[in-house]
Symmetry: D2
Subunit: 243 residues, 4 copies
Amino acid sequence: MSNPIRVTVWNEGRHEKTHEEIRKVYPNGMHTVIAEALNGAGFSARTATLDDDAEHGLSEKVLAETDVMTWWGHMAHRDVKDEIVERVYNRVLDGMGLIVLHSGHHSKIFRKLMGTTGNLKWRDIGERQRLWVINPAHPIVQGLPNQIVLEHEEMYGEAFDIPTPDEQVFISWYAGGTVFRSGCTWKRGLGKIFYFQPGHEAYPTYYNKEIQQVIINAANWAFTPPSPKLTVEHWKEPFEKVG
Amino acid sequence: MSNPIRVTVWNEGRHEKTHEEIRKVYPNGMHTVIAEALNGAGFSARTATLDDDAEHGLSEKVLAETDVMTWWGHMAHRDVKDEIVERVYNRVLDGMGLIVLHSGHHSKIFRKLMGTTGNLKWRDIGERQRLWVINPAHPIVQGLPNQIVLEHEEMYGEAFDIPTPDEQVFISWYAGGTVFRSGCTWKRGLGKIFYFQPGHEAYPTYYNKEIQQVIINAANWAFTPPSPKLTVEHWKEPFEKVG
Amino acid sequence: MSNPIRVTVWNEGRHEKTHEEIRKVYPNGMHTVIAEALNGAGFSARTATLDDDAEHGLSEKVLAETDVMTWWGHMAHRDVKDEIVERVYNRVLDGMGLIVLHSGHHSKIFRKLMGTTGNLKWRDIGERQRLWVINPAHPIVQGLPNQIVLEHEEMYGEAFDIPTPDEQVFISWYAGGTVFRSGCTWKRGLGKIFYFQPGHEAYPTYYNKEIQQVIINAANWAFTPPSPKLTVEHWKEPFEKVG
Amino acid sequence: MSNPIRVTVWNEGRHEKTHEEIRKVYPNGMHTVIAEALNGAGFSARTATLDDDAEHGLSEKVLAETDVMTWWGHMAHRDVKDEIVERVYNRVLDGMGLIVLHSGHHSKIFRKLMGTTGNLKWRDIGERQRLWVINPAHPIVQGLPNQIVLEHEEMYGEAFDIPTPDEQVFISWYAGGTVFRSGCTWKRGLGKIFYFQPGHEAYPTYYNKEIQQVIINAANWAFTPPSPKLTVEHWKEPFEKVG
């Protein structure tokens, strides 16, 4: 039997400490709920948060032991140190999977990997969201129905300033009149990236079993076994031999 | 000054003859309205319909003189002769642009070019549709606002059985809870293809100036100047010279 | 433990019967060599050939028991009955993986799924081919070096008349001056498709362990577990409830 | 008649000053040759270089008057100030086209827009390069033959560390055994980007009429008329009205 995939669930973790109503929803933080779902599905998941230590819980050692990372941030994107962003960035290029959740669309790491602003429309009135599966054979939607309904979520709307996704997995409908590319994949270097829209801190979204299934599937999909390196390489093979 | 782009606006044309309430909306057929919009924008547009003649108005001569074709069909897809479909297909591969409208998603020509069924969800209760621009720098949306609102249209919903589009231009929202990839592009051979969802026969959609602008932009985009041929070719250049 | 993936290795099988020099390379046909490699890797692989029976060995029962099919054809594409092509086509849309090998680029099934001619340049002088991995994190190249070298293969050259691939896995170099998109993926309906260029009948390509590894990886990748259906569906959910 | 498209041809410009043999090839710098080709084709092209002034010739005013920029850099990527890179980056997201040439694959601006390292294989022995057109209906190859042959160029080889291109236009063959995705497009924000491989400073590549034609076509393609903005936007339209 192969070793379990090692996931680090990263969370800014500020809302849960500073807002009483958020703490009621996630008493131990969103990261705990996500990590428990992953551990229950056979992963080896640990958590890390912005205020864990001087490295936001993301030491070189932690990254070396991480196959896939999930990232949730919102109010404190600017407090994430550039050197830690650089460290995560290099680890993605080296093959670590990255699942960017909800307001992570504006995180330093997502913007750096995308090369765009991640801008979008938004409105938080808790309107109904339907996530439609538009790529039914994709590994990320295995075992799911053809739509996921969330009674209350924050609306994110197009135009979403991202590069063309490699794969479009979900497109969302919101009751108030907008649509959003809510599940998208890209590759950067050897690393696979999945952006997944649901997860405003005020709603119990990460307790939803279907949302958990998407994250579980995405963590499996984003795992990349060791591959040929992408290096700058002066090709020295003699011309006469290869031509 | 260059010659105008030559467009053939093809329409099944049956609904307008057999249904009184459709004739009220389009007394001279949808094709006439579309062709007038194109001619008003500087194209040289003609029309052709299923019952024009034994070749559905699509003789070899007409095709040879067509740079871009628009296609609307619905109730009589099966009455389109296979040899005419083959003729249009070959002309697309040879560089003719093709704009497939609304229920044309199930036409023989679209299915043959896509390699899929074109299946989808649908409901005709005249619900509100919003077409969101998700690719704002694309030539097809030049001069348009960031959304087009149609008060009444037929709903088409995901999952839409199409190959991954080369470019996603619009995604639609429908009041009743669904989304749809309502503006998509592909290439086949030397030909460019644009699928555009609006245009149920019972609604005055093709009189809408923004919808007309999309079709005008698409006809410009779909025009391909003469290009290198895509042929089966035994490459005879001597090995010694090229290696 | 899960059941093995069921592969049907289909081969035209004519060259091996009619040409003495081909029979020397593949005494029991190319299909036998490919199937043995797959069985050795844990698949449940069977073979079928054009002349097996009136259905080319592809009865409804065989297709129902096939998760992934490989396809090799060349001199007798026209002898494959249209109704069998239709059967394979429908099975792909329903989720069967399809690996199209070498001269299968001109098969009826590949052209039908692509919507293009599959035309290309070619020259058979046994020149050296290098298959470069351009997508090093893709499952299809797991365990492979960054290039595969074949001392003698038939050259296929661009422009290759295919739709834009969903993913580009390999690009080939040929000593005589050409390049080719030699490993490409697409989706059609629920089915995954991989085109892989090597495998002219006169060369022992399918005995090559790296080529076998690509086919093994592709068969794993192309397997799709049961997924939501892509159907034509009148959506009857009451408008009031969903909006 | 419409106004000409305004191009700023940016060049590092160091090799031409410090290396006698490069000065012989480009006595007035590569930028002069490229700008002359563009001006001859009806563009309004100006030049700017790294050492022009404290802003590398790229003041706010220059950028505001630039529709499309071409970028060549190599030995001094690190000398380009981060604030100027940021300025160019924002202008691209705002709709300026960008044509990145040759060793610009390692420039700060290209890496920032791509989100990857731009790493690749390389060898400079002046081997023969063939640029094959693989997308013959693309505007960037209008008027070109199906391949461009350069007798002597620097080799760049796969794997090239870039995001999946939106469109693949050219793939190159090099005599010494490698291939390269030598013409690729992407979109970032409202800006279109084209990477084009040829142009080592020691070879007279930018005098080649076919290479000039590619750059001319690319400058036309990369021009984006004013489009809807991609902003962070709190959507205030009343829920009741839009739902």
